[in-house]
């Protein structure tokens, strides 16, 4: 792959993929929180940014851009399933 395309894909993975996982993580957290919804939201704001950082670092340390995206899509799918399950259950 051309280096510029490789970097472009990684930058996209870092910012867009990072945000998607962050938002999904937050969403799943809020939906699966067992207690009061205010606690779900407030506690839910505290951790997602570690996810964003982790994805951004992963995007630039993975062996290839496709590999970086592959894992992001996989984790996003798992989170999306958890999201769907939460809506189905509740």
């Amino acid at each position: 792959m051309k280096p510029s395309r490789d970097i472009g894909l990684r930058v996209l993975a870092a910012f867009v993929g990072g945000y998607i996982l962050t938002a999904l993580f937050n969403l799943v957290w809020v939906l699966w929180w067992p207690g009061h919804r205010a606690d779900a939201v407030y506690y839910g704001t505290l951790l997602p940014w570690t996810v964003y950082c982790a994805v951004m670092i992963w995007a630039f340390s993975a062996r290839s851009a496709w590999r970086a995206w592959g894992w992001i899509v996989l984790v996003a799918l798992v989170l999306a399933i958890l999201w769907g399950l939460a809506r189905f259950v509740k």
Binding site: D6, I7, R10, F15, G18, T22, A23, N26, L27, W29, V30, L31, H36, R37, A38, D39, A40, V41, Y42, Y43, G44, T45, L46, P48, W49, Y52, C53, M56, I57, F60, S61, A62, R63, S64, A65
Partner: protein
Amino acid sequence: MKKTFSLSMAWLHTWFGLYLGWLLFAVFLTGTMAVFEHSITHWMQPEASIDRSAPLPSFEKQLEVGQAYLEQHALREKGSLWRIIPAGERHPTLDVGWRDKGKNHEVALDPYSGQEIDIRETEGGEMLTHFHYTLLAGIPGTIIVGLAAVVMLVGLISGIVIHKRIFKDFFTFRKQSSSQRSWLDAHNVAGVMMLPFLLMITYTGLVMQPLVFLPLGIKAAYEDPRGLRADAVQSFDLPYVGEQAALLNISSLLPRARESLDVVEWVVIKNGGDASAVVEFYESINHKISAVANHAAFNGVNGELIGAQTEWRDSTYIFRAFVGTHVAVFGGWTVSWLYFIGGTVSCGLIATGLVLFTIKRRKRPENEFGAASGCVYRLIEALNVAAVMGSINAILIYFWANRILPADLAGRSDWEVRAFLFTWLASLAHALVRKPLAGWRDQLVFAVALCWLLPVYSWLSGQPNLLSFLQRGDGVALGVESTIVAFGVLLAVAVPKVSGAMRGVPARRKG
């Protein structure tokens, strides 16, 4: 992407640091100013700098004066939100305000005489705070700052990874070595020493804006996001009736408010003048990190206690502790100054990082942009100057505009902001025209002159200045202006170093 994790992180640190460093410098610098936003606002309203040698009138007395003013002038309508913020140590005027068709109306009163003070129109320090988290571009601006903050966090983590010698080089600053070495040492020392502060301030900055950054989570729990606030903050409002009724003397409620609250700091009156008036006292949040203000509400006509909130959900309290740690309202001047120093060193960290990029390549070009490398490096040098010196000069020009523009100019505060933004453009243009080092030097000298001549200009133009602030015992304004002068000294120290580099000799060697 690179052969090792550490090399990948170095790449990430270099490029993300460069591209977002330009923005981050401005965000950190305005954030550093924001610590003293109210002090800066006070300084930008020299009309409000009154003689403070006599002790302030009591809180009760000030409430009475504020109430009398509001009853005479404020709008009596549904949803009119009257406020009284008595003068105190950090807050030199007695401020009253109300809401007029959704717009806030603010008036500053002389706490001694109760007279209205005619203040020049300015956005004061709040403009800098506003820039700090919106870039004056609303929600899109906040999102951009948020992305920059994530990059900042990643920059810190990747910085730790590539530094490797955090503990071995903890105290190492080799000022006599090659200029690249000492810049790198300065960058490392600033980063390592400020690491707790940097991680805290960046992370809490991200956490505190969930409505903008994480709207999906909130919408999943609440159809109307305002429901979240309703779950966290108890509301003691009474339904509006539309019948005139006399508001009782607010200060007479204070002893009972103090049964549930510690130090009362300000008062809000909802539906003032109506039979449904509610008087709500708010506690100072100075003594705790979590930015939640305990409050007690009374019926404004018969004085019955409606309710008081002194307990908070754990989750709210923890979330607001993140907010409180960021905005640093607690701990008085000590914490403000510590945050100000922390912010200044963080700005130094970002600035040294930006400079390092170009110093490295000045010595040994890496041709990262192929044939265009020379031009691009040149552009990067200019953007560095505009990001660092442009931000500093923009703020200084904003202060100058405050003193130069006529006090009664129409749209005055907008002109101040325009001067602020225009300075950035001018700085960039200048940096593009001049050779890189000359750009740095010129703009440094310009900034030093701006810092040092400001009190002189104020004095010559017959406006309040260092001397008059001292005479009036106005420590807040005095503090702002002397900090500007001291900042000039800090910048002046850098001038000979840049001049030395221009002559091709490394910074003056000692010992």
